[in-house]
Subunit: 191 residues, 2 copies
Protein backbone atom coordinates (compact mmCIF):
# COMPACT_ATOMS: atom_id res chain seq x y z
CA UNK A 1 0.00 0.00 0.00
CA UNK A 2 1.85 3.00 -1.37
CA UNK A 3 0.22 5.50 1.00
CA UNK A 4 1.46 3.49 3.99
CA UNK A 5 5.01 3.29 2.64
CA UNK A 6 4.99 7.06 2.14
CA UNK A 7 3.66 7.58 5.65
CA UNK A 8 6.36 5.35 7.13
CA UNK A 9 9.04 7.29 5.22
CA UNK A 10 7.61 10.60 6.38
CA UNK A 11 6.71 9.81 10.00
CA UNK A 12 8.60 6.64 10.94
CA UNK A 13 11.73 6.68 13.07
CA UNK A 14 14.28 3.86 13.32
CA UNK A 15 15.39 3.24 16.90
CA UNK A 16 18.27 1.09 18.14
CA UNK A 17 17.47 -2.64 18.28
CA UNK A 18 15.71 -2.82 14.89
CA UNK A 19 12.67 -0.98 16.17
CA UNK A 20 10.62 1.02 13.69
CA UNK A 21 8.67 3.64 15.56
CA UNK A 22 5.39 4.72 14.03
CA UNK A 23 3.80 6.12 17.17
CA UNK A 24 2.60 9.14 15.24
CA UNK A 25 -0.14 7.21 13.45
CA UNK A 26 -0.28 3.52 14.38
CA UNK A 27 0.37 2.76 18.03
CA UNK A 28 0.42 5.77 20.34
CA UNK A 29 -1.25 8.59 18.43
CA UNK A 30 -3.84 6.97 16.14
CA UNK A 31 -4.48 8.60 12.78
CA UNK A 32 -8.03 7.29 12.68
CA UNK A 33 -8.78 8.33 9.11
CA UNK A 34 -5.65 6.58 7.89
CA UNK A 35 -6.39 3.48 9.99
CA UNK A 36 -9.75 3.29 8.23
CA UNK A 37 -7.99 3.57 4.84
CA UNK A 38 -5.72 0.67 5.81
CA UNK A 39 -8.81 -1.21 6.98
CA UNK A 40 -10.49 -0.66 3.62
CA UNK A 41 -7.45 -2.14 1.86
CA UNK A 42 -7.51 -5.19 4.18
CA UNK A 43 -11.23 -5.62 3.46
CA UNK A 44 -10.48 -5.46 -0.29
CA UNK A 45 -7.69 -8.04 -0.08
CA UNK A 46 -9.86 -10.57 1.79
CA UNK A 47 -13.23 -9.66 0.27
CA UNK A 48 -14.12 -13.09 -1.14
CA UNK A 49 -13.16 -15.23 1.85
CA UNK A 50 -16.41 -15.29 3.82
CA UNK A 51 -14.69 -13.98 6.94
CA UNK A 52 -17.07 -13.47 9.87
CA UNK A 53 -14.66 -12.47 12.64
CA UNK A 54 -11.37 -10.64 13.13
CA UNK A 55 -8.99 -11.83 15.84
CA UNK A 56 -6.22 -9.56 17.10
CA UNK A 57 -4.12 -9.09 20.22
CA UNK A 58 -3.97 -6.20 22.63
CA UNK A 59 -2.86 -3.43 22.55
CA UNK A 60 -1.67 -2.14 19.23
CA UNK A 61 -3.64 -4.56 17.09
CA UNK A 62 -7.00 -3.21 18.22
CA UNK A 63 -7.04 0.04 16.23
CA UNK A 64 -6.11 -1.50 12.87
CA UNK A 65 -8.48 -4.40 13.53
CA UNK A 66 -11.28 -1.88 14.15
CA UNK A 67 -10.41 -0.14 10.87
CA UNK A 68 -10.74 -3.42 8.98
CA UNK A 69 -13.84 -4.58 10.87
CA UNK A 70 -15.74 -1.40 10.01
CA UNK A 71 -15.28 -2.13 6.31
CA UNK A 72 -15.95 -5.87 6.63
CA UNK A 73 -18.98 -5.61 8.91
CA UNK A 74 -17.66 -8.20 11.38
CA UNK A 75 -16.85 -8.18 15.11
CA UNK A 76 -13.32 -8.14 16.54
CA UNK A 77 -12.10 -10.44 19.30
CA UNK A 78 -8.88 -9.32 20.91
CA UNK A 79 -6.68 -11.72 22.84
CA UNK A 80 -5.82 -10.40 26.30
CA UNK A 81 -2.28 -10.39 27.51
CA UNK A 82 -2.86 -10.80 31.19
CA UNK A 83 -5.81 -12.56 32.64
CA UNK A 84 -7.93 -9.97 34.37
CA UNK A 85 -10.73 -9.99 36.90
CA UNK A 86 -13.41 -9.50 34.27
CA UNK A 87 -12.47 -12.66 32.39
CA UNK A 88 -14.57 -15.56 33.54
CA UNK A 89 -15.32 -18.95 32.15
CA UNK A 90 -13.18 -21.22 30.04
CA UNK A 91 -10.29 -19.74 28.11
CA UNK A 92 -7.84 -20.69 25.38
CA UNK A 93 -4.37 -19.79 26.60
CA UNK A 94 -0.90 -19.58 25.11
CA UNK A 95 2.39 -17.82 25.81
CA UNK A 96 3.79 -15.04 23.65
CA UNK A 97 7.29 -13.54 23.77
CA UNK A 98 7.25 -9.84 22.85
CA UNK A 99 10.00 -8.58 20.56
CA UNK A 100 9.35 -4.97 21.58
CA UNK A 101 8.86 -5.45 25.29
CA UNK A 102 11.32 -8.33 25.84
CA UNK A 103 8.96 -10.24 28.06
CA UNK A 104 6.65 -13.25 28.08
CA UNK A 105 2.89 -12.80 28.35
CA UNK A 106 0.11 -15.27 28.92
CA UNK A 107 -2.37 -14.59 26.15
CA UNK A 108 -5.98 -15.69 26.50
CA UNK A 109 -9.27 -15.69 24.62
CA UNK A 110 -12.50 -16.78 26.25
CA UNK A 111 -13.71 -19.94 24.57
CA UNK A 112 -17.19 -18.64 23.89
CA UNK A 113 -15.85 -15.91 21.59
CA UNK A 114 -14.41 -18.43 19.11
CA UNK A 115 -17.19 -20.61 17.77
CA UNK A 116 -17.36 -23.67 15.55
CA UNK A 117 -17.70 -22.57 11.95
CA UNK A 118 -15.95 -19.21 12.45
CA UNK A 119 -13.88 -18.04 9.48
CA UNK A 120 -11.26 -15.84 11.05
CA UNK A 121 -8.92 -13.12 9.80
CA UNK A 122 -5.94 -12.43 12.06
CA UNK A 123 -4.92 -8.76 12.18
CA UNK A 124 -1.95 -7.06 13.82
CA UNK A 125 0.05 -3.87 13.50
CA UNK A 126 3.52 -5.47 13.16
CA UNK A 127 4.95 -8.77 12.03
CA UNK A 128 8.59 -9.26 13.02
CA UNK A 129 9.50 -12.61 14.54
CA UNK A 130 5.86 -13.62 14.38
CA UNK A 131 5.50 -14.52 18.04
CA UNK A 132 2.17 -12.74 18.54
CA UNK A 133 0.72 -14.13 15.32
CA UNK A 134 1.86 -17.67 16.18
CA UNK A 135 0.13 -17.28 19.53
CA UNK A 136 -3.11 -16.32 17.80
CA UNK A 137 -2.73 -19.21 15.33
CA UNK A 138 -2.23 -21.62 18.23
CA UNK A 139 -5.39 -20.36 19.94
CA UNK A 140 -7.44 -20.51 16.73
CA UNK A 141 -6.28 -24.06 15.99
CA UNK A 142 -7.13 -25.17 19.50
CA UNK A 143 -10.57 -23.61 19.01
CA UNK A 144 -10.99 -25.40 15.70
CA UNK A 145 -11.89 -22.25 13.77
CA UNK A 146 -10.79 -21.71 10.17
CA UNK A 147 -7.93 -19.23 9.67
CA UNK A 148 -8.53 -17.47 6.34
CA UNK A 149 -5.35 -15.43 6.57
CA UNK A 150 -3.46 -12.71 8.38
CA UNK A 151 -3.46 -9.00 7.59
CA UNK A 152 -0.56 -6.97 8.91
CA UNK A 153 0.10 -3.26 8.69
CA UNK A 154 3.91 -3.41 8.67
CA UNK A 155 6.01 -6.53 8.18
CA UNK A 156 9.74 -6.49 8.86
CA UNK A 157 10.82 -8.59 5.91
CA UNK A 158 14.31 -9.03 7.31
CA UNK A 159 13.00 -10.91 10.34
CA UNK A 160 11.78 -14.46 10.05
CA UNK A 161 8.11 -14.27 11.12
CA UNK A 162 6.53 -13.67 7.72
CA UNK A 163 8.44 -16.45 6.02
CA UNK A 164 7.69 -18.94 8.78
CA UNK A 165 3.99 -18.21 8.89
CA UNK A 166 3.63 -18.37 5.10
CA UNK A 167 5.46 -21.72 5.29
CA UNK A 168 2.69 -22.90 7.62
CA UNK A 169 0.32 -22.47 4.67
CA UNK A 170 -1.29 -19.30 5.97
CA UNK A 171 -1.94 -16.42 3.59
CA UNK A 172 -0.21 -13.32 4.97
CA UNK A 173 -0.93 -9.91 3.44
CA UNK A 174 1.23 -7.08 4.75
CA UNK A 175 0.32 -3.57 3.66
CA UNK A 176 4.01 -2.63 3.74
CA UNK A 177 7.06 -4.89 3.97
CA UNK A 178 10.26 -3.26 5.18
CA UNK A 179 13.16 -4.95 3.38
CA UNK A 180 15.88 -3.12 5.26
CA UNK A 181 16.28 -0.12 7.50
CA UNK A 182 19.07 1.97 8.93
CA UNK A 183 19.11 5.19 10.94
CA UNK A 184 18.52 7.25 7.82
CA UNK A 185 16.92 5.01 5.24
CA UNK A 186 14.05 2.54 4.94
CA UNK A 187 13.51 0.39 1.85
CA UNK A 188 10.41 -1.60 1.02
CA UNK A 189 9.88 -4.92 -0.75
CA UNK A 190 8.09 -4.64 -4.11
CA UNK A 191 4.65 -6.28 -3.87
CA UNK B 1 -28.35 5.97 25.59
CA UNK B 2 -31.27 3.59 25.61
CA UNK B 3 -29.72 1.12 23.15
CA UNK B 4 -26.70 0.74 25.44
CA UNK B 5 -28.86 0.15 28.52
CA UNK B 6 -30.76 -2.53 26.62
CA UNK B 7 -27.53 -4.14 25.47
CA UNK B 8 -26.17 -4.20 29.04
CA UNK B 9 -29.39 -5.82 30.26
CA UNK B 10 -29.26 -8.39 27.48
CA UNK B 11 -25.55 -9.21 27.38
CA UNK B 12 -24.02 -7.95 30.64
CA UNK B 13 -23.13 -10.26 33.50
CA UNK B 14 -22.57 -9.19 37.10
CA UNK B 15 -19.54 -10.89 38.66
CA UNK B 16 -18.48 -10.97 42.32
CA UNK B 17 -16.63 -7.84 43.43
CA UNK B 18 -18.98 -5.33 41.76
CA UNK B 19 -17.69 -6.19 38.30
CA UNK B 20 -20.02 -5.72 35.36
CA UNK B 21 -18.85 -7.89 32.53
CA UNK B 22 -19.62 -6.69 29.03
CA UNK B 23 -16.97 -8.68 27.21
CA UNK B 24 -19.49 -9.63 24.54
CA UNK B 25 -19.47 -6.17 22.97
CA UNK B 26 -17.16 -3.70 24.72
CA UNK B 27 -13.88 -5.15 25.92
CA UNK B 28 -13.07 -8.64 24.68
CA UNK B 29 -15.34 -9.25 21.72
CA UNK B 30 -15.91 -5.86 20.09
CA UNK B 31 -19.29 -5.22 18.47
CA UNK B 32 -17.80 -2.76 16.02
CA UNK B 33 -21.09 -1.51 14.59
CA UNK B 34 -22.40 -0.78 18.07
CA UNK B 35 -19.13 0.88 19.11
CA UNK B 36 -19.59 3.22 16.14
CA UNK B 37 -23.16 3.96 17.26
CA UNK B 38 -21.86 4.85 20.72
CA UNK B 39 -19.19 6.95 19.05
CA UNK B 40 -21.82 8.83 17.06
CA UNK B 41 -23.67 9.64 20.29
CA UNK B 42 -20.44 10.91 21.91
CA UNK B 43 -19.78 13.06 18.83
CA UNK B 44 -23.32 14.49 19.10
CA UNK B 45 -22.97 15.29 22.82
CA UNK B 46 -19.70 17.19 22.31
CA UNK B 47 -20.37 18.56 18.82
CA UNK B 48 -19.96 22.27 19.59
CA UNK B 49 -16.83 22.10 21.71
CA UNK B 50 -14.09 22.46 19.09
CA UNK B 51 -12.43 19.23 20.18
CA UNK B 52 -9.37 18.34 18.09
CA UNK B 53 -8.09 15.25 19.91
CA UNK B 54 -9.36 12.30 21.91
CA UNK B 55 -7.25 10.97 24.77
CA UNK B 56 -7.87 7.50 26.17
CA UNK B 57 -5.98 4.76 28.01
CA UNK B 58 -5.08 1.26 26.91
CA UNK B 59 -6.54 -1.28 26.52
CA UNK B 60 -10.30 -1.12 26.67
CA UNK B 61 -10.60 2.60 25.97
CA UNK B 62 -9.17 2.30 22.48
CA UNK B 63 -12.15 0.78 20.70
CA UNK B 64 -14.75 3.24 22.01
CA UNK B 65 -12.33 6.11 21.41
CA UNK B 66 -11.95 4.95 17.79
CA UNK B 67 -15.73 4.85 17.44
CA UNK B 68 -16.00 8.46 18.61
CA UNK B 69 -12.97 9.67 16.62
CA UNK B 70 -14.40 8.35 13.35
CA UNK B 71 -17.46 10.54 13.82
CA UNK B 72 -15.51 13.56 15.08
CA UNK B 73 -12.72 13.44 12.51
CA UNK B 74 -9.96 13.73 15.11
CA UNK B 75 -6.97 11.57 16.10
CA UNK B 76 -6.80 9.46 19.25
CA UNK B 77 -3.86 9.42 21.65
CA UNK B 78 -3.85 6.49 24.03
CA UNK B 79 -1.88 6.55 27.25
CA UNK B 80 0.34 3.50 27.64
CA UNK B 81 0.34 1.49 30.80
CA UNK B 82 3.86 0.22 30.73
CA UNK B 83 6.72 2.06 29.16
CA UNK B 84 7.85 0.04 26.21
CA UNK B 85 10.90 -0.08 23.98
CA UNK B 86 9.21 1.88 21.21
CA UNK B 87 8.52 4.88 23.41
CA UNK B 88 11.30 7.40 23.10
CA UNK B 89 11.63 11.03 24.01
CA UNK B 90 10.06 12.98 26.82
CA UNK B 91 6.92 11.62 28.46
CA UNK B 92 4.21 12.73 30.82
CA UNK B 93 3.86 10.09 33.49
CA UNK B 94 1.45 9.28 36.29
CA UNK B 95 0.38 6.26 38.34
CA UNK B 96 -3.01 4.61 38.05
CA UNK B 97 -4.55 2.00 40.33
CA UNK B 98 -6.78 -0.41 38.43
CA UNK B 99 -10.10 -1.35 40.03
CA UNK B 100 -10.44 -4.41 37.79
CA UNK B 101 -6.88 -5.67 37.88
CA UNK B 102 -6.01 -4.68 41.47
CA UNK B 103 -2.61 -3.34 40.52
CA UNK B 104 -0.72 -0.07 39.98
CA UNK B 105 0.47 0.92 36.52
CA UNK B 106 2.77 3.66 35.37
CA UNK B 107 0.84 5.47 32.66
CA UNK B 108 2.65 7.56 30.10
CA UNK B 109 2.00 9.79 27.09
CA UNK B 110 4.82 11.10 24.94
CA UNK B 111 4.96 14.86 25.30
CA UNK B 112 4.90 15.57 21.59
CA UNK B 113 1.42 14.04 21.24
CA UNK B 114 -0.18 16.64 23.53
CA UNK B 115 0.35 20.09 22.08
CA UNK B 116 -0.33 23.62 23.25
CA UNK B 117 -3.80 24.65 22.11
CA UNK B 118 -5.21 21.12 22.05
CA UNK B 119 -8.85 20.84 23.07
CA UNK B 120 -9.15 17.32 24.38
CA UNK B 121 -12.00 14.89 24.99
CA UNK B 122 -11.21 12.08 27.42
CA UNK B 123 -12.85 8.75 26.53
CA UNK B 124 -12.98 5.47 28.40
CA UNK B 125 -15.11 2.35 28.56
CA UNK B 126 -15.81 2.39 32.31
CA UNK B 127 -15.93 4.96 35.10
CA UNK B 128 -15.96 3.40 38.57
CA UNK B 129 -13.60 4.92 41.12
CA UNK B 130 -12.24 7.23 38.44
CA UNK B 131 -8.59 6.29 38.84
CA UNK B 132 -7.87 5.96 35.10
CA UNK B 133 -9.69 9.19 34.30
CA UNK B 134 -7.89 11.07 37.07
CA UNK B 135 -4.62 9.81 35.64
CA UNK B 136 -5.53 11.19 32.22
CA UNK B 137 -6.64 14.49 33.77
CA UNK B 138 -3.34 14.75 35.60
CA UNK B 139 -1.40 14.19 32.38
CA UNK B 140 -3.52 16.68 30.41
CA UNK B 141 -3.10 19.34 33.11
CA UNK B 142 0.64 18.82 33.18
CA UNK B 143 0.63 19.20 29.38
CA UNK B 144 -1.41 22.39 29.63
CA UNK B 145 -4.07 21.24 27.17
CA UNK B 146 -7.73 22.14 27.58
CA UNK B 147 -10.01 19.33 28.82
CA UNK B 148 -13.43 19.81 27.18
CA UNK B 149 -14.97 16.87 28.97
CA UNK B 150 -15.02 13.13 29.43
CA UNK B 151 -17.19 10.62 27.56
CA UNK B 152 -17.71 7.24 29.19
CA UNK B 153 -19.56 4.21 27.92
CA UNK B 154 -20.65 2.83 31.31
CA UNK B 155 -20.48 4.67 34.63
CA UNK B 156 -21.02 2.83 37.88
CA UNK B 157 -23.07 5.50 39.63
CA UNK B 158 -22.73 3.75 42.99
CA UNK B 159 -18.97 4.27 43.01
CA UNK B 160 -17.44 7.65 43.65
CA UNK B 161 -15.50 8.44 40.45
CA UNK B 162 -18.20 10.26 38.51
CA UNK B 163 -19.17 12.50 41.42
CA UNK B 164 -15.56 13.38 42.20
CA UNK B 165 -14.65 14.23 38.62
CA UNK B 166 -17.76 16.34 38.09
CA UNK B 167 -16.84 18.14 41.35
CA UNK B 168 -13.51 19.01 39.69
CA UNK B 169 -15.54 21.06 37.20
CA UNK B 170 -15.18 18.57 34.35
CA UNK B 171 -18.19 17.76 32.20
CA UNK B 172 -18.74 13.99 32.30
CA UNK B 173 -21.18 12.35 29.89
CA UNK B 174 -21.83 8.66 30.48
CA UNK B 175 -23.88 6.82 27.89
CA UNK B 176 -25.27 4.59 30.62
CA UNK B 177 -25.11 5.04 34.41
CA UNK B 178 -25.65 1.92 36.48
CA UNK B 179 -27.41 2.96 39.68
CA UNK B 180 -27.30 -0.46 41.29
CA UNK B 181 -26.67 -4.04 40.36
CA UNK B 182 -27.08 -7.47 41.87
CA UNK B 183 -26.61 -10.97 40.48
CA UNK B 184 -29.95 -10.82 38.74
CA UNK B 185 -30.84 -7.17 38.22
CA UNK B 186 -29.26 -3.96 36.92
CA UNK B 187 -30.95 -0.58 37.28
CA UNK B 188 -29.94 2.61 35.47
CA UNK B 189 -30.03 6.26 36.50
CA UNK B 190 -32.50 8.40 34.56
CA UNK B 191 -30.62 10.93 32.39
Amino acid sequence: MKALEEKILKEGVVLPGNILKVGNFLNHRLDVGFLCEMGAEIARLFRDCGINKIVTIETSGIAIAMGAAIHMGVPVVFAKKNKSKNVSGEVYCTEVVSFTHKNVSQVIVEKKYLEAGDKVLLVDDFLANGMALKGLISICREAGVEICGAAIAIEKGFQKGGEEIRAMGIRVESLAIVESMTDDSITFREQ
